[in-house]
């Protein structure tokens, strides 16, 4: 006990001291939290609310010069989107990115994680680092690299496939192949991230469980299905939800590699929003597109969490 405490005799004095301490703590807490809270309120929540209002107006290129020309048009932008073939096309492609690309990406991560985590694997940290390397690279730079790899005449992809007798494909120029080509790049770039999370999760599966199952004569596949997967369920849910959300927001890959083409076959919702907003300055319409994307992501996340939770219980 310090000297000040000894001197402060009586319940009243002690209570008052505690009150000033609590007051000082509250003041310090507010002061320390203030910069972050203020910045996030002003530069994040502010724009989000402003965006909600924008999406209900006809804010366009004229409004940038003269903001007083903006009119409130209610749900006009949303209705306009629903009547545009371009919007439905972008929505469909975004759904393919999220509902095909993301599961493929998670599957590749999980398969590689199982290999890296296997008992007989050597140099585990080395493999982990190598598979993780694409994650830290700059997307724009590697998208440019892959653009050249996909080049029909001189690209390494066709050269490699040619060795197996597969004829040349115009990867980024053919509307059928451009989207799968972009997904391959996206998976290559991202799978190392989830790999790391899966490896951490696998290390938490108790070894005794595996050994017991092995003694009972369970095959490798049965052990994976009945021991590993249920234990991995929370990690799996986290990984599949976050990965799906990321694939919903795909932008730089198609922007750099195909500009959304050919024939708009790779045009994602974010790319459409960017074009509408910053090429044509239809900011009201673009804001509505952003909120539609948000709603789609929320809906898909809710569905996925419900599905996987039900499966976990069964």
């Amino acid at each position: 006990m310090s000297a000040t405490d000894v001197r402060a005799s009586g319940v009243v004095a002690r209570g008052a001291k505690r009150a000033t301490l609590a007051g000082r703590q509250a003041r310090a807490g507010l002061l320390l939290a203030l910069p972050s809270v203020a910045l996030i309120l002003v530069f994040f929540w502010g724009p989000v609310l402003y965006g909600l209002w924008l999406s209900l107006t006809d804010f366009d290129v004229y409004a940038i010069a003269d903001p007083s020309a903006v009119r409130f048009i209610g749900l006009g932008n949303y209705l306009h989107a629903f009547s545009e073939p371009d919007f439905w096309n972008a929505l469909r492609i975004t759904l393919v990115y999220a509902l095909v690309g993301a599961p493929v990406s998670v599957a590749v991560s999980l398969a590689t994680a199982l290999l890296v985590d296997a008992k007989t694997t050597r140099w585990k940290p080395f493999f982990r680092a190598v598979y993780f390397a694409p994650v830290v690279t700059t997307l724009v730079a590697v998208a440019i690299v892959w653009r050249y790899l996909y080049q029909p005449q001189y690209g390494l992809v066709n050269a490699l496939l040619g060795k197996f007798g597969i004829p040349r494909i115009d990867w980024l120029g053919d509307p059928h192949w451009a989207l799968p080509a972009i997904l391959v790049l996206a998976v290559w770039k991202n799978f190392g991230y989830n790999l790391l999370i899966f490896v951490a999760g696998l290390q938490n599966v108790p070894r005794e469980l595996h050994e017991a199952a092995e003694l009972d004569g369970a095959s490798g596949w049965q052990r994976f299905w009945n021991v590993t997967l249920p234990d991995l369920a929370p990690v799996f849910l986290f990984v599949s939800v976050t990965t799906m959300i990321n694939y919903f927001q795909l932008f730089a890959e198609p922007y750099v590699m195909t500009q959304g083409g050919p024939l708009k076959s790779t045009n994602s919702l974010v790319l459409l929003m960017y074009e509408q907003g910053f090429r044509w300055w239809r900011l009201g319409y673009a804001a509505a597109l952003a909120f539609i994307l948000f709603a789609v992501i929320l809906g898909a996340t809710a569905v996925q969490m419900r599905l996987q939770q039900r499966e976990g219980r069964a």
Binding site: L30, L32, A33, L54, T121, V136, T138, A141, Y255
Partner: protein, 273 residues
């Protein structure tokens, strides 16, 4: 003891996978040293016929990529420092200091993680336009000044600081800010290192926001400069590969050196709080 065939196969698959994974990066490096035009020959060469640095020289002289490099460095360093300061303060406050509205504010911050960044992007652009921050370094920096993820990360670690330690400092008459500086900050060292690597890499690699907010190529960051370069020099494969190397190499080197911290951040992000 002879290794089992299963183990050989397993390690073989992993090595093949690793080769496939690094192949695009190795080819990028190799092509950047090829003489002009060599990459566009059939069959595609894997190694330069003679090593040349002319593309790097051109990037840094005629094409002023050094300026973009400096811009990227400036934005990433300042953004990282800002996030470290704001997140360490707020993370500690939300973990250890009782103040009115604390839980509500924290929930509000966490909800922000649910909203995709693109939702606020167009209106933020308009706001910054009114503030005269479009096409400035300040404008590029705005998203990197505070971080919900950073606050969350710091808060988790700060919660583990023993209350007794803080209280005894209070009884010794230390002010709250001094406690933050001399007791809390030293305890946060490792998590701040993780956060620093994370923010530096994310801001270095960021593309959509600088693309939106910058119009003057003198202020372009590397990814934006690279994307605009590919528009003009799409035929110059070797030159573009050199540009890609310059962009990717700093973060890749940083990752190799600071792996431990980065991996810790990935894991922390996956732990549900």
């Amino acid at each position: 003891m002879k290794p089992k065939p299963g183990a050989l196969l397993l390690n073989g698959i992993l090595i093949a996978g690793a080769l496939l994974t690094v192949a695009p990066l190795l080819w990028m490096l190799s092509a950047s040293f090829m003489p002009t035009g060599q990459a566009n020959s059939s069959p595609p060469p894997l190694l330069p016929s003679r090593v040349t640095f002319e593309h790097y020289r051109e990037l840094f002289t005629h094409l002023s990529l050094s300026r973009a490099f400096a811009n990227s460095l400036l934005v990433s360093v300042v953004g990282t420092l800002a996030t470290l300061v704001t997140s360490s303060m707020a993370g500690y406050a939300f973990a250890k200091l009782k103040f009115p509205g604390r839980e509500g504010l924290f929930r509000l911050l966490l909800t922000a993680m649910l909203v995709p960044a693109q939702v606020g992007m167009l209106p933020l652009f308009l706001m910054l336009k009114r503030l005269g921050l479009v096409n400035t370094y300040g404008g590029v920096l705005v998203p990197w000044l505070a971080s919900v993820f950073g606050i969350f990360l710091v808060r988790q670690v700060a919660q583990a600081i023993p209350d007794d330690l803080l209280n005894s400092a209070r009884l010794d008459g230390a002010g709250e800010l001094r406690i933050y500086r001399s007791i809390v900050l030293p305890n946060l060292g490792p998590v701040l290192a993780t956060l620093a690597v994370f923010v530096f890499m994310s801001s270095w690699n960021d593309f959509l926001w600088p693309l939106v907010i910058l119009s003057d190529d003198r202020r372009y960051t590397l990814p934006v400069a690279l994307a605009s370069l590919v528009g003009e020099h799409v035929q110059d494969t070797e030159l573009m590969m050199a540009g890609a190397v310059v962009t990717v190499l700093p973060v890749l080197a940083l990752f190799v050196v600071l792996q431990r911290w980065y991996i810790r951040g990935v894991m922390a992000g996956s732990v549900k709080g």
